[in-house]
């Protein structure tokens, strides 16, 4: 295959260095001339270029030594290879490089018209990530999780109040005993109670008050005097922890015939159980919701990766490490998680505020009963802090899930 036509007499004579410079510059589409607009290079294509010109024979290392001083052609320092195995550049080329570097340095200092200010646009296109749908899913999950956390705070706070109320009150029950007068025993029980440490007050429940307590079960208009109805002494403890209820029980049973002390421990235990169950259920609901959200993010990340397969390939071919690619996806999903979580959190807080206003006492029976039960639908600071924590957790979970999904998927590609 005879392709060496370098000595073809019909070909034009070798160009001078100046011609070479102009020829090469035009071949790559650039005029070395400067326009009058801020000295910017004005690119244009040569109308016709003889690619078979002898310049190749002079420059290609396999054909002939590079004895033609093409090094005078200005090239950007960005493309000059500095491989360790490459021959040392000629002094003239080095000088040209230095000149080019100096020129580049000057260019950096000079304000450039049209120079991009940022290179930080998202590498993974935002529209390629199932943005709106995922934000909606995250917002809904975040909203429900925030509601659960708020409800949890409300129930646990109410249960704590109930427990406190119940444990602060102790009742001494004095049963009627045949042949034993009731009044002295009631008086003695009240005295014992008042002398017990930690007791703030002891009050004897009057007969009419006791009858009123029974009215809901027995009806009104009955003569209760003939019935053996026990009498009560209600004790209000100043500090349930400091009160010596064991000693009180011992003294009452020893000194007051037919009397017993009810410290409501059964009710307190039931309330504790109920509150604990509510907390466990609430935590389970939050965990389930966050799990569902994590799974949604996993699917969305996989879909985003499938939709950006070309982008990932390109990133791999330009030498991107997996963690860089994962970071690009993670940034996206962190943003989505923050937006979705914030929407859900704000919506939940609005619900709390509206519910708080709606359940405040208005003087009617319904609002009074609701207020008596829950103490108002105010989630308090713990609920609001929990909501903020849920929003943060949603954002972090979204980002971490997407990162791990990307890394796992890329790892499987191997």
């Amino acid at each position: 295959m005879a392709r060496d036509d370098r000595h073809d007499p019909t070909r034009p004579p070798p160009p001078s260095p100046r011609d070479l410079r102009a020829s090469l510059s035009s071949s790559i589409g650039i005029s070395q001339g400067r326009s009058g607009r801020g000295g910017r290079v004005e690119p244009h294509f040569a109308p016709e270029f003889d690619a078979a010109a002898p310049v190749e024979a002079a420059t290609h290392p396999f054909i002939a030594p590079s004895d033609v001083p093409l090094a005078t052609v200005e090239v950007p320092a960005a493309v000059v290879v500095e491989a360790s195995g490459a021959p040392a550049p000629s002094p003239r080329r080095s000088a040209t490089r230095r000149k080019g570097a100096e020129k580049a340095g000057r260019r950096k200092e000079r304000p450039r018209t049209g120079t991009p200010e940022t290179g930080g646009r998202d590498i993974v296109p935002p529209q390629a990530v199932a943005g709106r749908a995922l934000v909606l899913v995250v917002a809904i999950m975040g909203f429900l999780a925030c509601l659960a956390v708020g409800g949890l705070a409300l129930v646990s706070e109410a249960a704590r109040d109930w427990q406190l109320d119940v444990s602060r009150e102790v009742t001494i029950q004095v049963k009627p005993v045949d042949g034993v007068a009731m009044e002295p025993r009631l008086k003695r029980a009240t005295e014992i109670a008042q002398s017990t440490p930690g007791v703030r007050s002891a009050r004897l429940v009057g007969e009419s008050e006791g009858e009123k307590l029974l009215e809901p079960w027995l009806g009104s208009g009955l003569d209760l005097a003939s019935l053996p109805i026990p009498r009560l002494v209600v004790i209000d403890l100043a500090d349930p922890a400091a009160a010596d209820l064991t000693a009180l029980k011992a003294r009452i049973s020893a000194e007051v015939h037919g009397a017993s002390v009810d410290d409501h421990s059964i009710w307190a235990a039931r309330l504790r159980t109920m509150a604990g169950t509510a907390v466990v259920a609430g935590v389970a609901v939050v965990v389930l919701m966050l799990t569902a959200m994590v799974l949604s993010v996993v699917f969305a990340t996989r879909a985003a990766m499938a939709g950006n397969r070309d982008v990932i390939e390109v990133l791999h071919f330009v030498g991107a490490e997996d963690r860089f690619i994962a970071g690009e996806f993670q940034r996206h999903f962190l943003k989505l998680g923050l937006i979705g979580g914030a929407i859900g959190g704000v919506a939940a807080i609005l619900v709390f505020v509206v519910a708080d206003f709606a359940t405040r006492t208005r003087g009617d029976a319904l609002s009074d009963q609701a207020h008596a039960l829950f103490g108002g639908f105010s989630v308090g600071w713990s609920g609001h802090l929990g909501t903020v924590a849920v929003v943060a957790a949603v954002a972090v979970l979204t980002a971490v899930t997407s990162r791990r999904t990307v890394l796992g998927h890329l790892g499987r590609l191997d």
Binding site: H60, P61, F62, A78, K108, D310
Partner: protein, 249 residues
């Protein structure tokens, strides 16, 4: 003029330096070396058979052959997108069979790849596409902005740096893809049909661009079936036919 045929022969040692061919160059210095490489997809017939070749530093070569001969497959092996079924591929002295996934990015950064279909990211501007490899390296934009702009001007895209790829012409896309492959100063440039989408005059201009890059120290391998293009420049030819390689120095 067939200088050397690398169809068959005993496998070359995979490690260490040894004397090379007539040029007296140490073959251990090759940037990329294939030794009896074979590749098949699944249980099908071998697409590449006993391929042995080397790409030396500062060398220029064409990879050619009829359509379906395996050029793109060979290119994918060259930039480690595929692993061979058999044989040895050494890239910068690393046996690719033993290269871990964590080592791949560092090796790939030393190779510039120009795809036939450009593979530009459509949502990034020309500037951002060209700067992508530097961004991947974690460099600050203030440190590379001038280099990217210079390179874009050098390839004649100074006025098109803010434009998204869908707006660029085929030739402009090609030059943007070349600029992206060059911005990290790769030791070797692999170009798959770089002139397949451009008219002959622009093809010649791109060829001159590659020649100039080679003169500046970059090894260049151009995969093409454009005989006219190869006739314009006397360079080593790696010809693929029926899965086998013939090399014309």
């Amino acid at each position: 003029m067939v200088v050397e045929e690398h169809a068959l022969g005993p496998p070359a040692p995979s490690r260490g330096r040894r004397r090379g061919g007539a040029d007296g160059r140490e073959r251990g210095d090759d940037l990329i070396r294939f030794e009896n490489v074979g590749l098949r997809y699944g249980m099908g017939a071998e697409v590449l058979r006993d391929v042995s070749l080397e790409i030396a530093p500062r060398s220029f070569q064409f990879l050619t052959g009829p359509s379906g001969a395996g050029k793109t497959t060979l290119m994918r092996l060259l930039f480690m997108s595929l692993k061979p079924t058999r044989g040895l591929i050494s890239v910068f002295g690393h046996d690719t069979a033993r290269v871990t996934r964590a080592q791949l990015p560092a090796l790939r950064r030393r190779i510039g790849v120009v795809f036939q279909d450009f593979r530009l990211l459509d949502h990034l501007t020309t500037y951002e596409n060209v700067a992508l490899p530097l961004r991947v390296l974690g460099k600050a934009e203030s440190g590379y902005r001038a280099d990217v702009v210079d390179l874009l001007e050098w390839v004649g895209l100074g006025e098109r740096m803010h434009v998204l790829p869908p707006v660029l012409s085929g030739g402009e896309k090609q030059r943007a893809a070349i600029a992206r492959a060059l911005i990290t100063k790769p030791e070797i440039l692999l170009a798959d049909e770089p002139t397949g989408n451009v008219d002959p005059p622009l093809a010649r201009r791109l060829l001159r661009l590659f020649v100039e890059l080679n003169r500046l120290g970059t090894s260049v391998l151009i995969a093409t079936h454009d005989l006219a293009l190869m006739e314009q420049f006397d360079a080593r030819r790696i010809v693929l036919a029926e899965g086998r390689v013939r090399i014309y120095e």
